[in-house]
Amino acid sequence: MTKLLRMPSNPGQAVAHEITLGFDVERVRADFPILQTKIHGHNLVYLDNAATSQKPKAAIAAITRYYERDNANIHRGVHYLSERATAEFEAARKTVQMFLNAPYPAEIVFVRGATEAINLVAQTYGRATVSAGDEVVITALEHHSNIVPWQMLCEEKGAMLRIVPINDDGDLILEELDRLLGPRTKIVAVSHVSNALGTVNAITDIVQRSHAKNIPVLIDGAQAAPRLTVDVQKLGCDFYAFSGHKAYGPTGIGILYGKSDLLEAMPPYQGGGDMIRSVTFEKTIYNKIPHKFEAGTPDMSGAVGLNAALKYLNRLGMDNIAAHEAELLAYATDAISRIPGIRVIGTAKEKAGVLSFVMEGVHPHDIGTILDQEGIAIRTGHHCAQPVMERFGVDATARVSLGLYNTKQEIDALVRGIHNIRKVFA
């Protein structure tokens, strides 16, 4: 089978670098249709963005447009629509490349989400390099998706999972990282921003410490990609994973960035169509990267939707989004900390987007139900980070997580809602 892969000839498909001065949250809110929804008769106050973000019209429209005008299978047909769908798909790859400032588009692998990206690395790079007695280093503030794939790998190989601890604020104790990194360490996997605590980890520092011992680093960027400017070259990391749906794009699509030399050396992930160059019953020759890791028909409309979402973020400017959320987080932290009986869980020096707390005498689940009656959506529970809960001696927390469309008025509504909880439980 010969395969002609045509890159889009129109560079206008790439990210438009528009300069936005300031950040008008009211104008931005109009771009998100769901924010008009009434919940139990109240305006929706959506503060569960770390679970999934809402979608701008641009992304929703792009998906509809794709199905109405461009849909065909990619990378194989010679017909016009297939070419056009392929161009759309590869244009999305290019947008992601620029969003992460990756050197090459071939370093961007489309997957289902951050979870699959991490599993891909564990199952390919991990299985090829980790042997009995080796070690994998993760941290105490990881989401289950950056724990379990490594645990499974270690179990299979007879390797050891080592954990970098956190202090009472939720900051990683980096001196311990130095102690854990040894000749048997095969990979370090760490989140950029903690989903349960909001801690922003010192990735550049972690990468330098690990690279000094020739150990590659995977970053779980699920919470960072929608909140911070991510530059994989500046960070220096070897792998970076994120989910489209947390970055204002659709569900079902996610990204693994990997340095090309690593990706090329790695065995394939799943076998199937599109990941091969030639197949005989004696031997299959694999396709080049990134296609080697993209077996089967991918989520084409998802890639198109993600492309539109990331372009939307670029138009707003990630620095503007980060500044807006930082201001809101400071405002919310101040207001919530003042409420008697509240304990904020996670007080790291540098935080982004996430505010976890517990309330004396009221279980987080009850907080969630009572706030929901006022249209306020927060997450309650262990946030897929049970080791973090254990570290802070709680079963669950209430978690407020911000998005680019949240406002101070919404935080005020949240604070009023928390005061109402006291009334119910008085």
């Binding site: 139990h40 008769g41 005498g361 009221v362 279980h363 987080p364 689940h365 009850d366 139900t369 009572i370 009656q373 309650t380 529970g381 262990h382 049970q386 809960m389 079963d395 669950a396 119910v424 439980f425």
Partner: protein, 148 residues
């Protein structure tokens, strides 16, 4: 629109603040652990049966107001009942909190304060966790049971 006061009835709040029979039961001959992995609620239910009768029953653990009050009131209402009566009561309770049946208050007694849960589908598991755990204890299950 569901009313919070229907869910957080005074009796429920009172039981969640001062749960009854909240202790380990040294003489228990049946015991089970129940866990809701979605929210982290977990309870241990202890039962002391003599013949077919529930001689004593208690619980320990942590959870939200609904799950804790439900466990507390369950232990209160089952002391002295037969295991068969307990199962029947659970059936009535379950149908009430899932909204399959209204009323039934004659059989449910005080437990009918949980009828408001039916308006809050996400909280049904909270209200039934202790009961599922009891069922496991009576069946002599060894592994912790889960709502999922």
């Amino acid at each position: 629109m569901p009313d919070l006061r229907e869910l957080y009835q005074e009796l429920i709040l009172e039981h969640s603040k001062s749960p009854r029979n909240y202790r380990r039961l040294a003489q228990a001959n049946r015991k089970a652990e129940g866990y809701n992995p979605l929210c982290g609620d977990h309870f241990t239910v202890y039962v002391q049966t003599s013949g077919d009768a529930i001689h004593d029953i208690s619980f320990q653990g942590s959870g939200c107001a609904i799950s804790k009050a439900s466990a507390s009131m369950m232990t209160q209402s089952l002391k002295g009942k037969t295991t068969q009566e307990a199962r029947e009561l659970f059936e009535h309770f379950h149908r009430t909190v899932t909204g399959e049946k209204n009323g039934e208050s004659a059989q449910l007694g005080k437990l009918s304060v949980f009828a408001g849960v039916a308006e809050f589908p996400t909280r049904v598991k909270c209200a039934t966790l202790a009961w599922h755990t009891l069922e496991a204890a009576l069946q002599g299950k060894q592994d912790p049971i889960s709502t999922e």
